[in-house]
Structures are given as C-alpha cells and as structure tokens.
Symmetry: C2
Subunit: 139 residues, 2 copies
DNA sequence: AGCATAGCCCACCAACTCTATAGACTTATA
DNA sequence: TATAAGTCTATAGAGTTGGTGGGCTATGCT
C-alpha cells in the first residue's frame, strides 16, 4: 500500500503541476488547498527537492515549483522516493535489491512470480507521469 | 512489500504441497526444514487453518496438511490473508475497500492509475496457485 | 542595514505494525 | 494416564508512520 506520505506527495505534485510555470507556490498554500498537515508537507517537499523533482525559492515571493515538466516526472520515480520499493520482495527489486536469506533465487517459484508482478506494475508506473494525474483539472 | 510472515507462509505452503496427501506434517518439521521460528510459524499455520486453507490433527501422529489441492489455492488468497490488501490504495481495493478522505474517486487520476496497477497484479496472482511455487521440487 | 518572509533543518513524540517468544491449555492417541 | 501435538493469550522489543515544535538561514524589500 502507498503510505499517506505518498498520497500527500502526489496531491502536492498535482497541485504544483496545475501551477506549472506560474511562479513559486507557498507550502502553506498547498497545505491548505490539499488539506495536508503543514509541517509534514514541508518534509515531503524538501525530499522531492533533494531528489531534483522540485525546486524552491526562499524569502518573499518564494515557494516551491516543479523543476521539470509534469510529463517528465514518472510515477515510478516518486513512488520509489517517497514510498520505497515497487517490487513485492527485496530479491526482486531493481532499485532496492537484497538477496534472499535461506532461498536460492535460481530455483524459487515465488521469486519468478514476483518478477512478473514487478514487471506488470512497472509497465504502468514507468510509463505514467504526474501529468496523467490531472484528470479534467482535478486531483 | 510482502512481510516476512508472508514469505514464511509461502515457504510452509510449498513444503506442505510437496507432502500433499502424505499425512500430517509436524510444525516443528516445517520450522526446521524451512528455517522458520517455530512459535511464529505456529501462528501462521493457525491463521491458514482458520481460513480453510490448511487443516490439522492433534495428538500423536498429528500435524498440518493442505485442505485443498495445491492448484486450488491461489496466490491472491494467501497474500490477502497474511499480507493484507493487494491494491496500492484502500479506495481501489476489492477486499479491503475504504473510501478516500478529501478526494473524489470519480475525478482522481491517482485512483484510476492504481486501478490499472491492481488489475495488472491481480491478473497474475489470481491466476497462479501455490502449485506454481514448486519449481523442480524446490521452494 | 534591518526587518519580514518563507524555506531548511533538527529533534522529538505517540501510535502502530512487525517479528518473535513464553507459557499455559486442550485434545487425541497409544 | 502419559505423552504428543496443536491452540490460545499475552507480551515485548524494534522499527515505521504520521505528525509537531522550535530555531536557523537565505532572500527580497525598504
């Protein structure tokens, strides 16, 4: 399941997409409009910034804004950053790989099945961007 | 991610599949062979029993055994039971549905995308059984 | 320079989940 | 009736999640 943090991240990104190239947006504005706890949102936005998805400006007239176009930010990137692995097992993860204890990947039926699930999921989230979250202007 | 509990469950079910229709298997036997903490395994097997997947016999000569054939137990069933929802959002779950707070499912891009992911995943785990975990006799 | 603005950073907390264990209880078989 | 083996309840430590508080730092305006 996606954490609440992830859902907040997507809401914020949706909002920022609507304001893309319209100047910085205040954290407090996002928090209010999307009903996200302000301080929690702060952490999320900062994380997105450090990952190069958002950028910010301090001081008066400052705020957060997208660093790339909405259709250049994949769902997979955001999920991995905020939520963690997409795969259902560490031994099957591309970005968070860890080998199995007590089990040989070469002859593990579960491993093979989870590779299938991973690929089916990636086929979607790698090919969708936060632009796709904008369904007739609402998020 | 699948919890450790889920992985243990699949290991145990794999082992019991290999012994299908060969009489009850001791918890301690499963625990030893599959390197699962015994008391933890106890809870897991009991849960599987209550869900109608396993059955057991007490007393001498007792143990656990599959209640249905390995190819009649879907992966989806076990995952839902031990791990929880398969969907990435409650508002998209078939068996653990909860409506979104602060968001209208009818016009939510994230919702629609997560439906896609859910269906892609279900397409696999609904059509695979624990029999498919038996790759040349190993689990 | 000085002040207000607004993001940055650090530390902390309560609640919950996950993993695991302990011990007493019940039932079945020989 | 002794013993084997599953059942049940409770608990505990570690880690994660969701959230808050307070001070620091950079920016822009006057």
């Amino acid at each position: 399941m996606l954490s609440k943090k992830s859902q907040y991240a997507f809401k914020a990104l949706t909002y920022l997409s609507e304001k893309y190239e319209q100047g910085p947006v205040l954290i407090s504005d996002i928090a209010k409009k999307k009903k996200i706890p302000l301080k929690f949102l702060e952490n999320i936005l900062l994380e997105l910034k450090k990952a190069g998805i958002l950028d910010s400006k301090k001081g008066k007239g400052g705020g957060y804004f997208l660093q790339k176009a909405p259709d250049q930010i994949t769902m997979a990137t955001v999920i991995r950053l905020i939520n963690g692995p997409i795969a259902m097992l560490p031994c099957v993860s591309l970005y968070f790989y860890e080998r199995c204890s007590n089990c040989n990947e070469k002859v593990c039926g579960l491993h093979d099945m989870m590779v299938e699930v991973r690929d089916a999921t990636l086929n979607i989230v790698d090919n969708r961007t936060i632009k796709d979250l904008l369904v007739n202007g609402k998020g």
